[in-house]
């Protein structure tokens, strides 16, 4: 089921899982079954997230599909050249995977295999273009594909709170022109900024579904770390103050849930859905969704 068939019909909720550094992934499937069944419309599987080598996203997507979930296959350009990328995407089609999230990917120096060769043969824009071509029945070198062309719903990413915003809107437009059909955003912590972003997007790019990125803040340290080190993320001071106020409450996750629920309530009329990045706290997603009224 393609996500684009859900947008505008309901408020779409997606989440994500990061596979482990190992091959025995059954426990993760069990956790997903326990906490995410019937709560989310689709689950994104990250591709060697943060350049840390992990179990493959394609394999994980296949397992999710076999267990009754709708996977979103995330593909980065860091590890594979155009040949391997096209090959893996065709493979995904054979297993009923219909949703893709295409990104450039973090540089290898940020991960645990710093010595690895960073590939970046294609980037997010050219990868979107490549998938579009595959859907038209041709590979990137212009050769006709055998049989029916695959069919996907193509997603991309954007950072609505990054500065200068114009720079990121420039790239976003290129992704749309290349064929992106929906966007999953970086974490949102400033509703006014997000609403302004949406306003500009609507005015300039028209109707394009946006899934706002949401997470549950676990601690003051986490907020500060992200401000310092994670691109496109800006946790405002007043939220950090709120986390500081009641240590026990924050530790239990309740403060984080309240903060995120509030944000969701403020922005839900402006976007087509949310994407929850649990960062391990799958068990809290249920509480968050109820508190946000979803």
């Amino acid at each position: 089921m393609k996500l684009k068939d859900l947008f505008y019909k309901k408020f779409v909720i997606t989440s994500e899982i990061g596979p482990p550094k190992g091959w025995q992934v059954q426990h993760l499937i069990e956790e997903v079954k326990k906490y995410l069944k019937d709560k989310v419309d689709a689950i994104n599987v990250t591709d060697n997230q943060s350049s840390v080598m992990r179990f493959g996203s394609l394999g994980m997507c296949i397992l999710l599909k076999q267990n009754g979930f709708e996977p979103i296959y995330q593909v980065t350009c860091r590890d594979r050249n155009r040949i391997a990328l096209q090959s893996d995407i065709l493979t995904a089609a054979a297993f009923g995977i219909e949703n893709l999230l295409l990104l450039t990917g973090d540089h290898t120096v940020l991960g645990d295999h710093k010595d690895a060769k960073p590939v970046f043969d294609l980037d997010s824009v050219s990868l979107i273009y490549t998938v579009k071509r595959l859907m038209e029945g041709y590979d990137l070198a212009g050769n006709k594909l055998e049989g029916e062309p695959p069919s996907f719903c193509i997603g991309a990413v954007v950072s609505p709170e990054a500065e200068p915003l114009e720079l990121h809107l420039f790239k976003m437009e290129k992704k749309i022109l290349a064929g992106a059909e929906f966007f999953q955003t970086q974490l949102v912590f400033n509703p006014e900024k997000f609403i302004k972003f949406i306003d500009i997007v609507r005015k300039n790019f028209g109707k394009i579904p946006i899934l706002a990125g949401i997470t549950i803040l676990k601690s003051v340290a986490m907020a500060k770390y992200m401000n310092e080190n994670v691109a496109g993320v800006n946790v405002p001071e007043h939220l950090i103050e709120e986390l500081k106020r009641d240590d026990k409450k924050t530790k239990s996750g309740q403060t984080g849930i309240e903060i995120s629920a509030k944000i969701i309530k403020e922005i839900k009329n402006y976007c087509e859905g949310i994407h929850i990045m649990p960062l391990g706290w799958y068990h809290k997603i249920g509480d968050l969704l109820s508190l946000a009224g979803l």
Partner: protein, 201 residues
């Protein structure tokens, strides 16, 4: 332009086994200023292994290499093997010009610039000799060399405060390109173009 770093441990491990004549190349000393450091390293090595050394230049020129090998022929014969402190080209050129074993004492690094000894324009710009120049589309800032990922279609999401995710001191190349395109009113020209690198050039 080449910069050098001495492979100290590898040299120390390697010299115990044989007797060496050492060439120290100072041809690019005005690029990397490492000749004096190499000289003191060589002088500190045991004399029973390092029989002789000579400071020469332009070991990347095969004619000069032949001249040096002839001039120091006797000393080389007495030693038996050759240890070279120079970039990879110098080592390879000597290796293919003489029938003795040739070893390198350095790792070679690249720093921007091709001609002369001064890093051009403070090292701000570099050229990847890609064969399909993108400068007409990127307001004359090279996306291949100024972006850590050599992206061709705009910045990735890793830029923070105008700096690259790879190093907080490094500017995001694409942010610079974007500002320039805006300044010259050329943003519209590449919106619909999708650039894909041709590595076959």
């Amino acid at each position: 332009m080449f910069s050098l770093k001495i492979k100290r441990q590898e040299v120390l491990d390697l010299i115990n086994k044989e007797k060496f004549f050492v060439f120290i190349c100072e041809g690019c000393n005005e690029v990397n200023f490492i000749r004096d450091e190499i000289l003191s390293f060589v002088k500190s090595l045991p004399k029973e292994n390092i029989l002789n050394f000579e400071v020469v230049d332009y070991l990347c020129n095969p004619d000069f290499v032949n001249l040096y090998l002839k001039t120091f022929d006797k000393k080389i014969k007495v030693a038996g093997s050759i240890l070279v402190f120079s970039c990879g080209i110098g080592v390879s050129t000597i290796a293919k010009s003489i029938d003795k074993k040739v070893y390198t004492g350095c790792d070679t690094f690249y720093i921007p610039g091709y001609k002369g000894v001064n890093v051009p324009y403070n090292g701000k710009f570099d050229c990847a000799l890609c064969g399909e120049c993108y400068l007409n589309y990127t307001a004359s800032i090279c996306p291949i060399t100024s972006c850590s990922k050599s992206l061709l279609n705009g910045p990735c999401g890793g830029v923070k405060n105008g700096k690259c995710e790879v190093d907080k001191e490094k500017d995001c190349g694409w942010e610079k390109i974007f500002e320039r395109l805006k300044q010259f009113g050329k943003l519209g020209e590449i919106k619909e173009k999708v650039f894909i690198r041709n590595y076959g050039k």
